[in-house]
């Protein structure tokens, strides 16, 4: 079993885009681990060294690699702390909305009828409102905090999964192996978990990976307009929002968080793209599964 699994992972890493995505992500993760453990600066440590340019030395042993911000905090340390925070928020969002969307999609697709119509109409309404606007409305009701922002974004993205899962359930529901399981007298729950779910999982995970970068963009955007993380939390959107006010004095506190955000989003997109191609049998035939 494990050899099948390891071959599967080797095959996935053989796809160029997935490999690059994973390499970038792992490097960023390792770097942020080192920053958290070894950096001589705390992420919220204020100093007199305001707006020092990148690589300038103070009386500290370590230079300020990416300079300091308007409160003399080390931009390098903050940017990598923010990597951990933003990626965790993204993961929390896709877990939350993915699970709820999965349940709604499974129930809706498997039961059909009135339950299906009602649930899907609700999903239609949610999806017809621009996601970011709805997230703003929800976050504003809940109050400005990073956790509330996560909840708001999660709610907004539920329909993506619910619709996807429902569609897949509908296409699998009438297939022979599900009919056979039903004839054999298996319970609905067992059919869903043992027979339908495994069919859905790969596409579901691909979608979740693609949504991860959207989730991060939303979180940063909400924090940027003041509805997410609050000072002194190291968060990309908030850091850019603060640094924007001093852009004429110092560009680095705004640019580096943005760059790291870009790299992170790019690597999740690469992985998601690669997974999608891998799962798409038409594309797999043409490229032999190795892009």
């Amino acid at each position: 079993m494990s050899s099948v699994k390891s071959r599967f992972f080797r095959e996935l890493l053989g796809i160029k885009r997935i490999r690059y995505g994973v390499i970038i992500l792992i490097s960023l993760a390792i770097l942020s681990f080192f920053v958290i453990v070894f950096s001589p600066f705390e992420h919220d440590q204020i100093s007199y060294n305001v707006h020092l340019p990148p690589l300038s030395r103070s009386n500290t042993t370590w230079p300020y690699i990416l300079g300091t911000d308007n409160l003399g905090r080390d931009v390098f340390t903050r940017t990598f702390y923010a990597f951990i925070l933003d990626v965790s928020c993204g993961l929390a969002i896709i877990t939350l909305s993915g699970l709820i969307g999965l349940v709604i999609g499974l129930v809706s697709g498997y039961l059909g009828g009135l339950v299906d119509s009602v649930l899907m109409r609700i999903m239609d309404i949610v999806i017809s409102i621009p996601g970011f606007m709805l997230a703003i409305a929800i976050a504003a009701v809940l109050g400005s905090s990073i956790i509330n922002a996560v909840i708001a974004v999660a709610v907004v993205t539920i329909p993506v999964y619910a619709r996807l899962v429902r569609g897949m359930v509908l296409s699998v529901k009438e297939s022979l192996f599900v009919l056979a399981a039903r004839e054999a007298g298996l319970s609905g729950l067992r059919i869903i978990t043992k027979h339908i779910l495994p069919h859905i999982t790969p596409i579901f995970i691909t979608q979740a990976t693609m949504e991860l970068s959207n989730a991060i963009i939303y979180i940063a955007a909400l924090s940027f307009i003041g509805l997410g993380a609050q000072e002194p939390t190291p968060e990309w959107g908030l850091m850019i929002s603060t640094a924007r006010r001093y852009i004429r004095e110092a560009w680095w506190p705004a640019v580096f968080p943005g760059l790291l955000m870009f790299l992170t989003i790019l690597s999740f997109n690469l992985i998601g793209d690669g997974l999608r191609d891998y799962l798409d049998p038409k594309k797999r035939l043409s490229t032999g599964g190795v892009g």
């Binding site: 239609d124 309404i125 949610v126 017809s128 409102i129 621009p130 996601g131 970011f132 606007m133 709805l134 703003i136 409305a137 929800i138 504003a140 009701v141 109050g143 400005s144 963009i217 940063a220 955007a221 940027f224 307009i225 003041g226 509805l227 990309w236 959107g237 850019i240 929002s241 640094a243 924007r244 852009i247 004429r248 560009w251 705004a254 640019v255 943005g258 760059l259 955000m261 870009f262 989003i265 790019l266 997109n269």
Partner: protein, 336 residues
């Protein structure tokens, strides 16, 4: 043909109206589940006992939810989004004042991205599988995976700090221009003030580019693929065999057919621009609807947030419906 065009328009309109009703219901529910007394949330720091009583009466907050909803809808139908006690104006008035600025920015950005995307996409398609094609397609991928936040900041630094051009706002306050259309580029021209026009043009370019580059990148890839697909079709091959000049083949046969999917997808993204607009307006202090949302968040003015969400949603749903109907009108194949 299953449905006539009139039927299609009817159903699509009905569907949009239902979506708008859904949006209204969601915004209504959100405004009533606010923690604590909704009247206090509406009033913000101005919540004196007299004000609370007034707002409670005004919105029927002491009545049942269905009654409150009917009151809410009947006010909306009269175009009344309530009053902002924090900014001191009617919310509808605040929003109406800001809409022209946002529309001007979005339309300007849309034109830039269409022009860039289609021209470069056509170029990439004509030189497909060359180095130029590879460069252009790579640039397009880079363009649309750039987060708006980073792009906006980079352009702000480039135009404002490196080039030293005026950025922020729509027009230098020392120019006063009479309002004819609400579109500052047109108003400055109409009043014959060339200096003001140049100032306005310089100021609109960085925020418009921030919105246009990601969309332009997407349109580039889309146009390239769409044009390539048409170029491979039989009628184009026939035209080439007839030894028609390449330009005639390209413009009369290829681009015209390739434009259908490009225009529709561009139309759908027009609605997406409306959302990205909030970030861009905040970065460049552009006094439009997006900036209003940001100001409302800063002041904790829930009435304005709620009103803006509703207005933007209605615009979004309407534009989507119009694009769908246009698409159906252009391409009869979907009618079936």
């Amino acid at each position: 043909m299953a449905k006539s065009i009139v039927q299609y328009v009817f159903y699509r309109t009905l569907q949009s109206l239902l979506s708008i009703l859904g949006a209204i219901i969601i915004v209504f529910i959100l405004s009533r589940v606010l923690p604590g007394n909704p009247a206090v949330a509406i009033l913000g720091p101005k919540a004196t006992p007299e004000n609370i009583e007034r707002v409670t009466r005004e919105w029927g907050l002491d009545k049942s939810y269905p009654e409150q909803f009917i009151l809410y809808i009947s006010r909306l139908l009269r175009g009344d989004l309530g009053d902002s006690y924090i900014m001191g104006y009617g919310v509808s008035k605040l929003i109406a004042e800001r809409i022209p600025a946002s529309f001007e920015l979005i339309i300007f950005a849309f034109i830039i991205s269409l022009a860039l995307g289609i021209t470069l996409g056509a170029l990439a398609a004509r030189r497909h599988d060359t180095k130029l094609d590879l460069t252009l397609t790579s640039l397009s991928v880079l363009g649309f995976s750039f987060p708006t936040l980073l792009l906006g900041v980079l352009l702000l630094i480039f135009f404002g700090v490196n080039l030293g051009l005026p950025v922020g706002g729509r027009l230098d306050p020392r120019y006063s221009v009479k309002t004819y259309t609400g579109f500052i580029l047109i108003d400055t021209l109409l009043s014959g003030n060339i200096n003001a026009f140049i100032d306005a043009l310089i100021r609109i370019i960085p925020p418009a580019l921030t919105l246009a580059i990601p969309l332009g990148g997407l349109l580039l890839r889309l146009s390239r693929n769409s044009i390539l697909e048409v170029m491979m079709q039989d009628f184009v091959k026939t035209a080439k065999m007839k030894k028609l000049p390449e330009k005639v083949v390209m413009y009369k046969h290829v681009i015209r057919n390739a434009l259908i999917p490009i225009i529709t997808i561009a139309g759908l993204y027009f609605a997406v621009l409306v959302t990205g607009d909030i970030i861009v307006e905040t970065i460049f202090a552009w006094p439009g609807l997006g900036r209003l949302v940001w100001e409302a968040v800063m002041l904790r003015d829930y009435m304005v947030i709620q009103g803006s969400v509703l207005v933007v949603s209605i615009i979004y749903i309407t534009v989507n419906a119009i694009v769908d109907i246009l698409y159906m009108y252009i391409d009869p194949r979907i009618r079936e």
